[in-house]
Amino acid sequence: MIGIVLGLMFAVQPSSIDDHAARLYDRSLIAIAHGDIAAAETALEAIVDEVPLHPDADFDLAMLLSRQGKWSRCAELLQRAVESDPTHVEAAVRLGEARLIGLGDPASAVEPLEDALRHDPANVRAARLLAQAWVRLGQPERALAVLVAEGINGAWDAPTQTIFAQALASAGRLEEAAGEFRAALELDPRHAPALIGLGNVLRRLGRTADAAPVLESFRETSREDDEIIILTGFVRADPTDLDSWFRLGMRYLGRASWTRAANAFAHCVAASPDDPSPREALGYALLQGGSAESALVQFRWLVTRFPNVPEYRNSLGAAYLKAKQPKRAAAEFSQAVRLKPNEPGFRANLAEAYEQAGMTEQAEQERRAFEKLVSP
């Protein structure tokens, strides 16, 4: 009798464990989609504890830990994922990445990256990381061979192009390296490793005058990159850190990354809905990103609360203009002009709105007022 009962239990249990794990996993994915990283981690830790073979949970938890710089545990989980599912190419690639970048151990990164490329010969990320590992191990020829393999060389992005250039530089082929670094900068003019690589190669070639502006660009870019990395770290560690969210949004605005900027400002607005500054910034990011209707919502809120701030009236007018509602735009710009008659930008906007509304006489009148304000 006991044997029968145990037999039934074992017949049923694996499937119910699978379903239970699948539900927990589902919960973790929803938490990730909502940006609730703590909840995602809790669900994933539960699966990792309860289910010995769940490469997806191992992988996702490893990815969350890598964002926090917990590379040892990240590598352990990825190793487990690869062992339980050798076809999990992304786990192998990320294991190589964790060992190469996170733990600084290029020798141990080679094996999983080679495994990944065996399963997926067109995996550009695996090829790039493997090439990077070979460069660090002082074997640039092997790096070059990886990158020119069929299936890889047609899909280079700026980082991959840069590793190719670094391998050439490492092999002493400096003129070729300079050309390849320039090719990387054509793909992404702000790619810091390509900028410093090109600057250093030019210096090694004795072209210090050419190297100077390149290295200056690198210094500027890396300062901005560093700040974004630092601010991203702050908001990940503490999603309620509104000051960092705001500064991150401003950084993205500076880079014309409108969607990312809007996302950052939206965090501030959600947490502090009565604060006008993030609203204005959010509206601006949305407007620049082409979401005039969404921008209108933000600017209408501002004008309702602060009807006598001319800048908000002007922003609302700009949103109306972009939403192809020139008469409403003109009404808002008129209010801005009434509140601040000597601001030439408001006058120019009003003229444009009148023009688009077909009110040519008024447009001409405002244009004259604008010219009067800006003439010496």
Binding site: H20, A33, H34, H119
Partner: protein, 270 residues
């Protein structure tokens, strides 16, 4: 677009006998397809995530795609034909109940909801049973955005006013949950496909690669030869709008079933 009423009860109640006409032949609740003519469209964007760039012109042959995501009732017909309780394609449920019992209850209670809890293999098996297939990523995106490069199925602004409506998709908001298919009529794509954005994410036929757009050809691309994840499109009731529109690419391992991923079917020609 073929005539279709999104609020028609006929969607769930009228059953269409599949070709063959044999008494035992499985039947499936009416499945409406919209034709997508052959030609070029803009795929991807250079604005959002790097895996969506470069934006480029892609040419596809004519194909047809389901107006809506596959519903519980439609999938149930397949499940019955596949052996019912003994089928390997019983959807996962998310309520800690027995799978078969929960699935049967779900079908009865929510026949017009999109089927969820299905793996890529389940979705592909259903499509094959119908003599169809899952859309490629390129087909999915063309069906969702048409040829004018728009960012959402209905235009370029997420909450732009259409008629009196400003909400055109079932994405994350307070209390969001899966809804019966076809409720957001103002969210229709240029070809008339509904819920391309929101409700549930949708499996596509393709493997996912973050660098695929840089390497793929521009004639009927069908995804990388292999991979870890399948490409999933459209966003769901769990996804905030800022995660992106018709160009956004999600990933999911083919054997993983979730409460927010379903699918729709497609076939060659119109």
């Amino acid at each position: 677009m073929r005539s279709w009423s999104p609020h028609s009860g006929a969607l769930a109640l009228s059953f269409l006998l599949l070709a063959g006409g044999v008494a035992e032949e499985p039947s499936v609740p009416r499945l409406e397809l919209v034709p997508v003519p052959a030609g070029e469209f803009l795929m991807g964007t250079d604005e959002w995530g790097s895996d969506e760039s470069p934006a480029r012109a892609v040419t596809l042959p004519a194909f047809s795609i389901a107006v809506t995501e596959t519903t519980n009732a439609q999938y149930h017909a397949f499940w019955l034909a596949d052996g019912g309780a003994s089928s390997r394609h019983t959807p996962l449920n998310f309520t800690d109940e027995d799978r078969v019992a929960a699935w049967t209850r779900t079908v009865a209670a929510k026949p017009d909801h999109p089927v969820v809890g299905v793996t890529w293999f389940d979705a592909a098996a259903y499509a094959a049973w119908l003599g169809m297939r899952l859309p490629t990523e390129a087909e999915w995106e063309k069906a969702a955005r048409g040829t004018d490069g728009r960012l959402w199925s209905w235009g370029n602004a997420f909450d732009g006013r259409i008629g009196t409506a400003t909400l055109h998709a079932n994405l994350l908001r307070d209390g969001s949950t899966p809804m019966p298919v076809g409720r957001f009529v103002t969210g229709a794509s240029p070809y008339g496909a509904l819920d391309m954005i929101g409700n549930v994410r949708e499996w596509t036929a393709d493997w996912y690669s973050e660098t695929y757009y840089r390497a793929s050809g521009d004639i009927d691309p069908k995804g990388p030869a292999t991979g870890t994840w399948r490409a999933v499109r459209g966003g769901s009731w769990t996804d905030p709008p800022e995660n992106g529109g018709v160009t956004r690419r999600y990933t999911q391992r083919p054997g993983v079933a979730t409460s927010f991923t379903g699918f729709r079917v497609a076939r060659d020609g119109t």
